[in-house]
Point group: C2
Chain length 488, copies 2
């Protein structure tokens, strides 16, 4: 087995790219900053979509689809929003090419009257539509989600983590009251936390962003933050309370039960293919990708081992009913019966691709009514009797899922600590991980800490009782500790 993956300790960034390549998740594209999501990567995204989509539907949301192009004038309607996105917009200016010698050129006669922006996010085009759909309190709430591609002209890109075009979902809801909208914002934050922890086995911290880190146009941005193996934080999902900002920008009012015309309250929330980057960096090891069973495209792979046709037939006959029983239990199994690859090569490939459980079956296993199981997460192998194998595997997959979460949780907990002085903070931040420290609440101090330490405030906690203290930098009063880290 050739070792195609750099060790994490030698070069973490290269390790990440190696894992993505060897697991055949994605490729760079000839368009700078864009990526090709290969079948293995897309199958993973499909499983993530399926689980999230069900959670959205269970909380009352419907899917819809809004246009890719946003008129330039729409973006300008919400002042902070346009400021946030203006510098990273793909702009469509023409609608035709024309033939010239040896190729094609943009036809200057096809210049558009108003330029179109390829959506970086859809608040503006959606709130224009909501303006037409909402008249009365009876039309509220509107609970819509969209699965779509969006484009942000990023300069520094990395597969999955930051790409010019990415796939995501964006929920956009409209409510009669502030209370309802805030409730929706935190409900969807809860959905993201549940998804991250129960499906991705990726523990997260939740809280609210500082004004500096807020979504352009939001009143409050809630987030989930995960901790990667190199000690850096990853913002993995955000849920925005938008107040009445977009309702005012697009003049969206409703007649309430009291007969009054009021502006509508809004939320938006999204997660993207960035989650795949988070998944990779939470669980994978120096042999490649490690996938949690709940999201793995194949939970189990069966590799038959034989030297001749007779052995081949015996082994495959032995494997067949096992595979059928596993499938009957809803476990996704792949039989890798390719003749042109040796078992050792297959083992390495499935290891690189992260399949949670490998079953190897050779002639001796058939004779002894055994199977060899190999866990991807721990790389442990064991010989297990055929009797009761499907129940055993079902439980083992649950164990793997739980172990992945517990391992990641333990790592996060061990890397999370309180720091009281700025001196300690500067030392501690070099070691990576999450640091709770006191901050005076000002943008100036936040900026100073970022410049001097490259650490940002990942979130202000919301779910614990605040304990006041003194800012580690200025000594001024602090309402509560906030969470610092270096981040992606």
């Amino acid at each position: 087995m050739a070792k195609n993956i750099t060790d994490r300790k030698d070069d973490y960034s290269q390790w990440y790219l190696d894992v993505v390549r060897e697991a055949k998740l994605a490729d760079h594209s000839p368009v700078r900053g864009s990526m090709i999501i290969r079948p293995n990567g897309f199958a993973l995204w499909e499983n993530m979509k399926k689980a999230l989509d069900q959670m959205f539907k269970d909380t009352g949301h419907e899917n819809a689809y809004f246009p890719l192009f946003i008129p330039k004038s729409f973006l300008s309607k919400e002042a902070q929003h346009v400021e946030g996105f203006a510098k990273e917009c793909a702009v469509v200016t023409h609608s035709r090419l024309k033939s010239v010698d040896g190729g094609v050129e943009v036809d200057p006669d096809s210049r558009l009257e108003e330029e179109l922006i390829v959506r970086p996010t859809s608040e503006t085009i959606i709130w224009d539509a909501y303006g037409k759909w909402i008249q009365s309190y009876r039309d509220l709430p509107i609970l819509i989600n969209q699965w779509a591609n969006v484009v942000r002209w990023e300069m520094r890109t990395r597969l999955f983590l930051r790409t010019m075009e990415f796939l995501w979902q964006e929920g956009h809801t409209a409510h009669a009251t502030e209370e309802e909208a805030v409730e929706e914002t935190t409900r969807m934050l809860g959905v993201y936390k549940t998804f991250a922890e129960e499906f991705m086995a990726m523990p997260v911290k939740t809280g609210v962003k500082t004004a500096n880190e807020r979504f352009a146009g939001a009143v409050d941005t809630y987030c989930i933050e995960a901790l990667m193996q190199d000690g850096k934080a990853l913002q993995a999902g955000t849920s925005h309370f938008l107040g009445q900002n977009f309702a005012k920008a697009f003049d969206v009012k409703f007649q309430d039960q009291d007969g009054e015309h009021k502006y509508v309250w809004a939320t938006s929330w999204g997660v993207s293919t960035r989650l795949i980057g988070g998944l990779i960096m939470t669980h994978s090891d120096d042999n490649g990708l490690v996938l949690p069973p709940k999201l793995a495209p194949h939970q189990v792979v069966v590799v038959p081992i034989y030297r001749d046709n007779e052995q081949r037939e015996n082994v495959l006959n032995y494997a067949e009913p096992i595979i059928q029983e596993l499938k009957a239990k809803g476990i996704s199994v792949k039989l890798d019966n390719r003749d042109n690859f040796k078992p050792g090569w297959k083992f390495a490939q499935h290891e690189a691709e992260g399949t949670p459980l490998r079953i190897a079956i050779g002639p001796r296993d058939v004779e002894n009514q055994n199977l060899e199981l190999a866990r991807r997460d721990t790389l442990e192998k064991s010989i297990v009797p055929l009797a009761g194998i499907t129940d055993y595997i079902e439980e083992l997959l649950e164990t793997i899922q739980n172990d992945l979460f517990n391992t990641a949780k333990k790592r996060m907990d061990e890397s999370t600590r309180n720091v009281d002085t700025y001196e300690d903070f500067k030392n501690e931040i070099e070691k990576g991980g999450f640091i709770y420290a006191h901050w005076d609440g000002t943008a100036e101090t936040e900026e100073k800490i970022k410049e001097e330490t490259k650490a940002t405030i990942r979130l202000i906690p919301i779910d614990e009782d605040p304990v006041p203290g003194e800012c580690m930098v200025t000594g001024k009063p602090s309402e509560r500790r906030v969470l610092f880290a270096r981040s992606y």
Copy 2:
């Protein structure tokens, strides 16, 4: 019940738009030619996607995702391809906006070195990637499908039928031999025919396009053609045998088992949200949308009828176990228990939205252990006993599905005839429908017929034994009758 839908006989185009609006399928968008797919329309598309996606996976295909943007130089590599799409391209030329007084403008300093085209289809970007993935016959076949949005700058647009941006799937496969690629092309044509007929209940004709109507870059374009209620044909899906055109344009060769380096053979195939337009125009009536049970977001709606709280409770208690039993059978049921709308209003709404079967339950039904069923397709009502109701409904939904297909098939068959003289053809084409006639095989005659009658050759049949004859226009020899119609 206010009648918001124009009758078909009065104004067919307006009827179509009325049905779309009243069924809340889609809205016009402020971006000319783009549409908003509303939750009802998107739920329908999700069901279509789900069925098609399973059929693609059952035939060995995997999903992936390629970039939205195509470098301009890529489009030019296949000569016919660029000629076909150059005149309808959305072109991205800049990557930033900048603030000016009272708004934002495109930042001239952000002009791109090479313009990017928003994909009108993905052959070029995908064959560039295949060039990197394919070295040996062992890498073949590649069987990839993509669900994506594409943009074609159409001048005359109509919701679902022709929009600037639309959603579709595009399959792109690579093969070692011509035979395999042709087999794939016709296999996927078969998948489309099966989907159209068995899920959409929309009968189709299959065949191959003339050179004039071929996909830009294809050697042969196979298609399914459906007949709408106004007698016009709708191209509902295409499957292209691309020969080695794109392999040559992108220099994609593989080393075969005989050691020789050969160009790869290709196919591509797609269906789009246009199918929703076809579905609407195949089954709907002057009361609104009619949906086939296999694709309806809700197959059954239950409307309780009551005058007071006691009746309400009795009726809902009676309905509850029926709903649970239907759900247990895998039937999707919606209970419309909104208090602020009257039953008659609800009936009209569900009729407009096309729910295949309505159950109304009032106090007398509870007393008599009955239910009132109303079929959307025939508008027939019947009183049915509670005993055995779930089996009855399960069978009735199958009956509705079959009846919809048979009705549409009968209409198509009755509108399909042979015509021998050009004089007769000119008269007959005015009546709409499909006409089989002899044609001399030349582009000139095809063009003349189109100019004089607005009829095009929808397809050249492939599945029957050809009977030769004489061209109705020129009298020259004709190998077989081809299928004419006016079309969308």
